[in-house]
Symmetry: D2
Subunit: 154 residues, 4 copies
Amino acid sequence: MSASTFQPVNPDFEQRVRDSYDRQAFMEFLGAALTTVEPGFCVIELPVRDELTQQHGFVHGGVLASLADSVAGYAAFSLMPAEAAPLTVEYKLNILRPGGGQRVRATGEVIKPGRTLTVVRAEVFNIVDEAQTQCVTSIQTLMTMHGWEDAKRA
Amino acid sequence: MSASTFQPVNPDFEQRVRDSYDRQAFMEFLGAALTTVEPGFCVIELPVRDELTQQHGFVHGGVLASLADSVAGYAAFSLMPAEAAPLTVEYKLNILRPGGGQRVRATGEVIKPGRTLTVVRAEVFNIVDEAQTQCVTSIQTLMTMHGWEDAKRA
Amino acid sequence: MSASTFQPVNPDFEQRVRDSYDRQAFMEFLGAALTTVEPGFCVIELPVRDELTQQHGFVHGGVLASLADSVAGYAAFSLMPAEAAPLTVEYKLNILRPGGGQRVRATGEVIKPGRTLTVVRAEVFNIVDEAQTQCVTSIQTLMTMHGWEDAKRA
Amino acid sequence: MSASTFQPVNPDFEQRVRDSYDRQAFMEFLGAALTTVEPGFCVIELPVRDELTQQHGFVHGGVLASLADSVAGYAAFSLMPAEAAPLTVEYKLNILRPGGGQRVRATGEVIKPGRTLTVVRAEVFNIVDEAQTQCVTSIQTLMTMHGWEDAKRA
């Protein structure tokens, strides 16, 4: 489901989200791609390979968490004003079944935007051919850092 | 704090945890090392480098989650019988401050072992020289898969 | 949304859920009523009154959590076999806005049933006349206690 | 453990916390008492009675959550400036064992204070005579509402 009812306050939201994503070195390191950017809704996809697995050969839970973290952050960021940056406050995720398949797809959808805090639901799916099976459900809280440039700070 | 009051049911717990960790391809990909294995308590350390960062230059939240996930899993696994494997059910983490420093250190400590479910507290710290500052607190639930070999299944 | 695709293994699930609910003294103490019982989906409603509030006059977060806890438990219980009882493992809830209105309505919907563990999404809404506004989103993990009678144990 | 290292910014913090607690009608309805107020650390106790139980005769998980919610809120509030009120953002709790005993005791301890957000660990214990056994561990996030009076708003 796309949260298409949200109105972005920054008309340039898509370019801004994509530019920021391209600065997330860790997403590139994982091999993940940001495929969809809508107001309050984003999708990230990642081809599965051996380097991403845990001891049973499943996709490591931390990889699933990493995708959920980024996709939720960008869903929230898509609704933020131009002079602001997102910061993750906390999240919780349930692993409904082991991660696997040919690739994994993470979706983030804002369920409550706010001036200071935004709440996002993230879900991750195992993809085999065109069939998807959900492996993670997550809730994430993000803070809007007003006056922060979304750039290197450390 | 070390959960040194726990009695491992498998006297060979340390070797078993270390062998399993060595099969987690994703931990090697991150560059993380399992430094401490005690009954119900483990430590993982990871040198910080650019590939692990998000757009502000901080360590990506997913990296912190990955360390918390693994270290909690091995703290739980250290108390499991020989014929069993750990499976992560869920976790929640709060990012108390951005991840950074020269390296990050994750500790996992069992707070409630059980036949089916084990609850673990994981914490992550930013390390600069010898000083550590906490950046993550987490609670994780794991399931003991009795009768599972802790080996490739996928 | 009703999780109407689930097949209950116990054809007598509705009566069993209602009987169990009637033994939850705390729900009666709060004044809450179980209004809907479908396979994998339940609804509880509670008229708001002063006794249920916190210091700002909003419905206390613990009241919202209590409804989410019960409604999720019964959504899970509706799918359990006859010789089993539900036990709450953990939950996380986000308070999206303060609780209030004339009454609050909690819905629980199973998102992943399992032999040992069931994951449920619970939501709570403030009701004014016939309009509802969401105040809580929650994820809950429950364990099926096979061989337990769902009756007094303490 | 008492978080005695925190310095309250409001010297009148104890009276302010106690006055606010006394306006929580729901805590009085439950029969709970605020026993300890220190900077960043509070304790609430509640005698167990039948009205507070679920169908197995254990203390209802929502009662445990209610105590955790209030005690964490007041631990955070004790460190807030005079012109501010606390608002619960989210929490997660694990039920380590069923709630019961003669009474239950909830402790809240700030683990990270902040200008906007405060993170608190809450724990609940079953008390029998003078022995206590932990039944809940929880992490809670609260927001400081600067400029809010901590009084009736609804």
